[in-house]
């Protein structure tokens, strides 16, 4: 189904080659994750000298945890606000880094930290505008998910329609999931174009990306889906191993879960690398027309390569 053999392998190589990007993102998430727990740590201090805590360290008794977490003097889940806020900060950070990540994958050489962050900054506001466009596209999809959930819940309340409701939920949300993947793929390509083509009009860029993805949908989606599926498998395997490990071995269980997180980031970067390579191969193939070759300026790592003839949009 792929029109570009070896694309996944090449993408994997590029992620591996620039793996410090992956480790950087993982490290940031780990540090921010720990920052998010600071109010929790404070609340948990009081269990260090309490015998009841053994019910959480030696096993994981849900009743003990829920009675502890709901204690009016503890209110553990009040600390969730910090974690959510930090997650939003991470999201903005990732949006900022996306330009640098794509530039790193586009570039033929390793970027210095300065080049990486300059590229991140250079594309940030374009990607913010692109995100706003994506928000408009995502809204009806999310509304559809809400409607499916409500309808499925109504059906599942009736024994006669319970399985139909469950089926609707699985198939409906599965469909919405695929739709969201398609939208993500579309805007991933728009991000690639924004970096490669130096696009500044994001609405026009999104439309061009839509045409591009539509024309090559099966090939692109197959690439995107296979990587996602691999990520899901790794994540499920991580959870399975975690569930099978003795609860008292919490350091090891934590390591397993962290590996699952690391793979999650790796998979996402893998998708981005493959998309970039796919676009570059397509672009380079167009450039391979002999007459056009000398006209192409030597690429500056921070400037993008001119778009192929016929795709000049700005």
């Amino acid at each position: 189904m792929s029109d570009q053999p070896g694309l996944l392998w090449e993408g994997f190589r590029r992620v591996w080659h620039y793996q410090r990007v992956l480790w950087f993102i993982f490290f940031i998430s780990l540090v921010l994750g720990h920052l998010g727990t600071s109010p929790v740590v404070h609340k948990l201090d009081r269990m260090d000298h309490r015998l009841q805590a053994k019910r959480l360290s030696d096993t994981f008794d849900l009743g003990t945890f829920s009675s502890f977490s709901s204690d009016p003097e503890i209110k553990l889940f009040d600390a969730a606000g910090t974690s959510i806020s930090i997650s939003l900060v991470f999201f903005i950070g990732m949006l900022f880094l996306t330009g640098g990540i794509l530039e790193a994958y586009r570039s033929a050489r390793k970027l210095t930290a300065r080049e990486f962050f300059e590229a991140s900054g250079a594309y940030f506001w374009r990607l913010v505008r692109l995100l706003a466009v994506m928000g408009f596209v995502l809204t009806p999809a999310l509304m559809l998910a809400g409607a499916i959930r409500e309808q499925a819940g109504e059906l599942m309340g009736s024994a006669a329609e319970e399985k139909a409701g469950f089926g609707l939920l699985v198939i409906g949300l599965g469909f919405v999931g695929l739709l969201l993947m398609c939208i993500r793929l579309w805007f991933d390509m728009a991000q690639v174009r924004a970096v490669v083509e130096e696009e500044s009009g994001m609405l026009r860029n999104a439309l061009d990306a839509l045409k591009l993805v539509s024309a090559n949908f099966i090939s692109l989606f197959w690439m995107y889906f296979r990587i996602s599926f691999f990520g899901w498998l790794v994540f499920a395997a991580g959870l399975y191993i975690w569930a099978k490990m003795p609860p008292a071995r919490y350091t090891w269980t934590w390591l397993v879960l962290e590996v699952a997180i690391l793979f999650g980031f790796a998979v996402r970067l893998w998708q981005r690398a493959c998309e970039m390579i796919w676009y570059q191969r397509r672009y380079l193939a167009t450039l391979a027309v002999p007459v056009q070759a000398p006209l192409v300026p030597v690429p500056n790592p921070l400037l993008t390569i001119a778009p192929p003839p016929g795709e000049q949009t700005s």
């Binding site: 720990h34 998010g36 849900l62 319970e162 997180i261 996402r268």
Partner: protein, 657 residues
């Protein structure tokens, strides 16, 4: 005109004569006779003082979801005084937008959407008192609880002359029901039909007054014991389950069938119908004889049928062994077609709540079945007032549910045992109580709780937790004996909460008012804490004390225990030392704090309140102990999981970037 008056006068005269002779037509009704050997129970004679006898002939139209019926209610006046006013429930009218039930439901759930498909009604076409005449015009809707003029769930009728003590009166009521799609307990969903609260039911004369409350969002029911003869005509393809036992089936020429049910010594009658119910039957051999277990399963849930039978049998065995016999010939278990009809009790019939995918380790389904069967005892036979003393049925039942599930699955796993996660049913009840521990006492009328959450948390969770804690005071075996005594003494009666509390005191031989006043009648919070536990060298003041040596260095150990809440409860404190010694202290808890001091050649290892962990009503278990040695494992485990969850959230959000 004159002829009419003569006939009416003659009828009245005959009626008076009958009443005077104590031999009204109603008293000859089968249900009222004590001479007839019961056929729906395993007993040789009537088990209850049958105050009412209902003979209902009903025709159900599943296409229109309507029911037309004639009800003959024979009421024997047990009040010891003449009665001329009789209140009736007409609870199907609760499912109307202006009713008290919907109004209260909307108060609790502001997003509640009213739809016309939920509308239900019960209309009295005529009400005649045999021997007196038609009193339809005398029907008057009343709202004794909240004065809501739009609530039509209770009506009363005043007779032109009173019914004397121990005399009987017979009401002949023709009514029409329109069922709605199920909102709560009753109504239809697709082809499933649950007929509950579907007929006019007379109130209960209790504690010197009529007790006939409106239908509320958070209340259940209360009625007198009696006999029910119900004829139900409906299409032949319907599979039917009902209270009591089926005694005949006649196939009619119009494609319908008429089923006749007989229920004895019960105080309500419910039925269900669905064409494709799958019937699974089993038997339980109890101390009074064999009981037929009839399970009506949804076709899509047949993979859970054996699970139903197994848990019902296990539950019946324990109730029979621990609390008393189940005297009815049959128990019908309904797997409802809509979850809103699930988890509800009726005499000799209850609804469960299961899904086709319910995993074995998730004991929610078993909790529902054990709980609803338990109501056969705590509601069905010990028929307490669910409006005013809801904790007596829901609370005691939640406690016995925990005991039975603990016995079957183990105390730590009776609620959940799935994927390494465990939770006891009693822990769930306790956590529920901790949600809203101090808004309402257990004794609050059910419809007067601050919120629906408070009603649920206190009536179920707190009551079960309070009874669990009572084990600490009188012992588990004594409490079980008290419950057995309570059941055997008050079955087929309407006991009060004082009847229960006095029975517990009697069985234990203790005055337990100090506990009941705080736990049952009060909203006191119990929270004890080990504030500190430390050992200091006795020679601490020396400039150069000798090297610390285990077994030879002397220490002064002080344990400070603090009562943080306003609930006073005698507690034990266990202090462990590093030479293996253990000391148990008993504190009456009356003061706000107590300090225990020891001088030993050993350091404290830990101090723990309630070392047996039986004080479930204690709000915070974590501050009940103090260990000298810091153990950070639990903290880091939670911190790690919390970090991971935050990272996962980050990862999901970053997908949008």
């Amino acid at each position: 005109m004159r002829l009419i008056w003569n006939v009416a006068g003659l009828a009245i005269l005959l009626g008076l004569l009958q009443i005077a002779n104590g031999e009204s037509s109603s008293s000859r009704a089968e249900g009222m006779s004590t001479a007839v050997r019961p056929i729906a129970t395993l007993a040789d004679q009537p088990l209850s003082e049958r105050v009412v006898a209902y003979q209902i002939d009903a025709r159900f139209d599943p296409a229109k979801h309507t029911l037309d019926a004639t009800e003959v209610l024979t009421y024997r006046n047990p009040t010891g005084r003449p009665q001329d006013t009789f209140p009736f429930h007409l609870y199907l009218n609760a499912f109307q937008p202006q009713s008290t039930f919907v109004r209260e439901g909307h108060r609790e759930h502001r997003d509640l959407q009213w739809e016309e498909k939920y509308r239900a009604s019960a209309d009295i076409k005529s009400l005649e008192v045999v021997g007196i005449g038609d009193l339809t015009a005398k029907i008057k809707f009343i709202s004794p609880d909240d004065g809501n003029p739009d609530d039509r769930t209770v009506f009363q009728v005043t007779l032109p002359r009173p019914v004397g003590p121990n005399e009987s009166v017979q009401f002949k009521i023709v009514f029409h029901d329109q069922f709605g799609q199920i909102v709560a307990r009753t109504g239809y969903r697709n082809h499933f039909m649950m007929g509950a609260q579907w007929f006019p039911k007379v109130g209960v004369w209790w504690q010197g007054a009529w007790n006939c409350h409106q239908f509320h969002s958070d209340t259940e029911f209360f009625a007198d014991f009696g006999a029910y003869d119900v004829k139900l005509t409906l299409p032949q393809n319907e599979v039917v389950g009902a209270s009591g036992i089926e005694i005949s089936e006649i196939k009619n020429n119009d494609g319908t069938k008429t089923l006749t049910f007989r229920g004895e010594d019960i105080h309500d009658f419910a039925w269900t119908a669905q064409p494709d119910f799958q019937v699974v039957e089993g038997e339980f051999n109890g101390s009074m004889g064999g009981v037929k277990i009839r399970v009506l399963m949804q076709p899509g849930h047949m993979n859970q049928a054996d699970r139903h039978l197994r848990i019902v049998r296990e539950t019946m065995k324990r109730f029979d062994d621990w609390y008393g016999p189940y005297p009815y010939k049959q128990i019908t278990v309904v797997d409802p077609g809509d979850f809103r009809a699930g988890g509800m009790e009726y005499p000799t019939l209850f609804t469960g709540d299961v899904t086709w995918w319910a995993p074995a380790g998730l004991h929610l389904f078993e909790q529902v079945v054990v709980h609803e069967f338990g109501h056969q005892y705590w509601y069905g036979m010990v028929a307490t007032n669910e409006f005013e003393n809801a904790w007596l049925d829901e609370g005691i039942n939640s406690y016995t549910e925990c005991k039975i599930l603990d016995d079957i699955f183990g105390r730590e796993k009776s609620g959940l045992d799935l994927w390494g996660l465990t939770e006891g049913d009693s822990a769930q009840q306790r956590n529920s109580y901790l949600g809203t521990p101090d808004f309402d006492p257990m004794t609050r009328f059910a419809y007067q709780f601050a919120t629906g959450a408070s009603y649920g948390d206190v009536t179920y969770g707190k009551s079960a937790t309070v009874l669990y804690t009572l084990e600490k005071v009188i012992g588990e075996a004594t409490l079980r004996r008290a419950l057995r005594t309570y059941f055997m003494r008050y079955r087929f009666m309407h006991p009060t909460q004082e009847d229960f509390l006095k029975t517990v005191e009697e069985a234990s031989g203790q005055n337990l008012r100090w506990y009941f006043d705080q736990a049952v009648y009060g909203t006191n919070i119990l929270d004890y804490e080990i504030s500190s536990a430390r050992s200091d060298r006795l020679d601490w003041y020396l400039e150069k004390p000798p090297e610390e040596k285990k077994g030879s260095t002397s220490y002064r150990t002080e344990i400070l225990v603090h009562r943080k809440g306003d609930f006073i409860f005698p507690v034990e404190v266990q202090i462990k030392f590093d030479n293996g010694e253990s000391v148990i202290e008993h504190w009456d808890g009356k003061d706000r704090w107590v300090r225990y001091a020891y001088e030993k050649k050993a350091k404290v290892v830990s101090a723990e309140l309630d070392p047996e962990h039986s004080l479930l009503v204690d709000r915070n278990f974590f501050n009940n102990s103090y260990a000298d040695q810091e153990d950070t494992r639990a903290r880091w485990k939670i911190v790690n999981y919390w970090t991971w969850c935050t990272q996962l959230l980050m990862q999901c959000l970053s997908w949008l970037a």
